[in-house]
Symmetry: D2
Amino acid sequence: MQQSLTNTIEIEVKFSDVDMLGVVWHGNYIRYFEDGREAFGKQYGLGYMDVYNAGYVVPIVNVNCDYKRFLRYEDRVIIETVYTPTESAKINFAYRLLNAQTDELIVKGSTVQVFVHRDNFELQLTNPDFFLDWKQKHGLI
Amino acid sequence: MQQSLTNTIEIEVKFSDVDMLGVVWHGNYIRYFEDGREAFGKQYGLGYMDVYNAGYVVPIVNVNCDYKRFLRYEDRVIIETVYTPTESAKINFAYRLLNAQTDELIVKGSTVQVFVHRDNFELQLTNPDFFLDWKQKHGLI
Amino acid sequence: MQQSLTNTIEIEVKFSDVDMLGVVWHGNYIRYFEDGREAFGKQYGLGYMDVYNAGYVVPIVNVNCDYKRFLRYEDRVIIETVYTPTESAKINFAYRLLNAQTDELIVKGSTVQVFVHRDNFELQLTNPDFFLDWKQKHGLI
Amino acid sequence: MQQSLTNTIEIEVKFSDVDMLGVVWHGNYIRYFEDGREAFGKQYGLGYMDVYNAGYVVPIVNVNCDYKRFLRYEDRVIIETVYTPTESAKINFAYRLLNAQTDELIVKGSTVQVFVHRDNFELQLTNPDFFLDWKQKHGLI
């Protein structure tokens, strides 16, 4: 049984991502995580609209980010987004950002998302059916 | 008859506003204009919710910005937002940003907004009643 | 003699680009222009580092943007960046953003950049040699 | 002996902070943390320029954020920034964001910063003298 799913994309550091020290401003990595998560959603059928059409939105309830090295303007970055299985009614992702030229680890991070009903933002305490179906389809349960 | 209304606020350049040349990234001035416009809306009763409650939203259809000098981290900035009367169904603002320490002109700009119905985003071609009332209240017509 | 150079890229609207009205926040188009300008620079050898290595940086002194239609989350956008020849010591670009699905014009805009010496930010009043060389190479003079 | 120092500021949610679900986009809280940290630096003499003039910059090496509730456009937010003493050569802050109207906890978070030499970005493994002086001045050692 498969224990994880991974999406990998490559992006480039934009001029407006870089701060006055000449390195990517730390807050912008949260956007890079979102870039990775959106690409994962497209690859595996767990995108915003897939979730929305099933009646839910999935807000972030925790983000954690460890910064190991810097990125500079025009650096190319590999974003690895890994789905981390959990039995609780959550979506957990782990992220690794690598410098595409040097293969050095730049940033490690994680996010936790919960399911809330799209119409009233009420928390869904158990796994929604569509999500159990998704897990089954991908050999995660 | 009064020909213009002005709001003035003072803000400070944040670390994340500055680019790798050590000056405010040019795109961030659009946010500064919005800061000025929102403060104007509060002072004169033309805020987002005032407009929304009257049945409209007022998207930007033109923005123009002339950059004269640079701002740096921790510079204090005066934002002057001036309502520019027009007979057409639009809201026109002119902006001047001044360095609060030196009084130098940093940026001049303008925005044009139109009225669209909040429910279907359809363009309103004539001045809405609430806006004519607002103009009258402020001696603009 | 060629009168213009064009770069075309396609990008996708990100979740964090969209405002609470469900459309791309107007200020984010300034970043889209920059995406186009950077891609132009790469295609034609007029990138940030090309300019920097020649001793200059090229700050924006004017940006203008006309908003015609809205973009929504996950819309794909074509960014056309067109170099507009001028004899003065400036770099002028015109931009057209099109909805890649419908081919509708979303936004038209322009930027003007000047040359300043990278070490002291002093304005260069005449065309730098490297820029005349660049124009000649691309059949613009 | 005092065990912590706290700065408190109040800010307002801007239109451009809010995402298409009508709530503050999760990545923008990283900027709110920075707003709090900058205000702390001013209050207690540990600002960017204080650190820079002592020969260092203090990049973030970890950020963690727990999201408890949502903020909406025009909500007023209290940002509490608390310095958390540590003997290692780091600067640790804890953050609490409260809805200023309801006093509800919105977000809890933390950041860790290290000292790097401003000229070569090399890591400083022991507490710099200026920082020990700062701690002593504020009764932390």
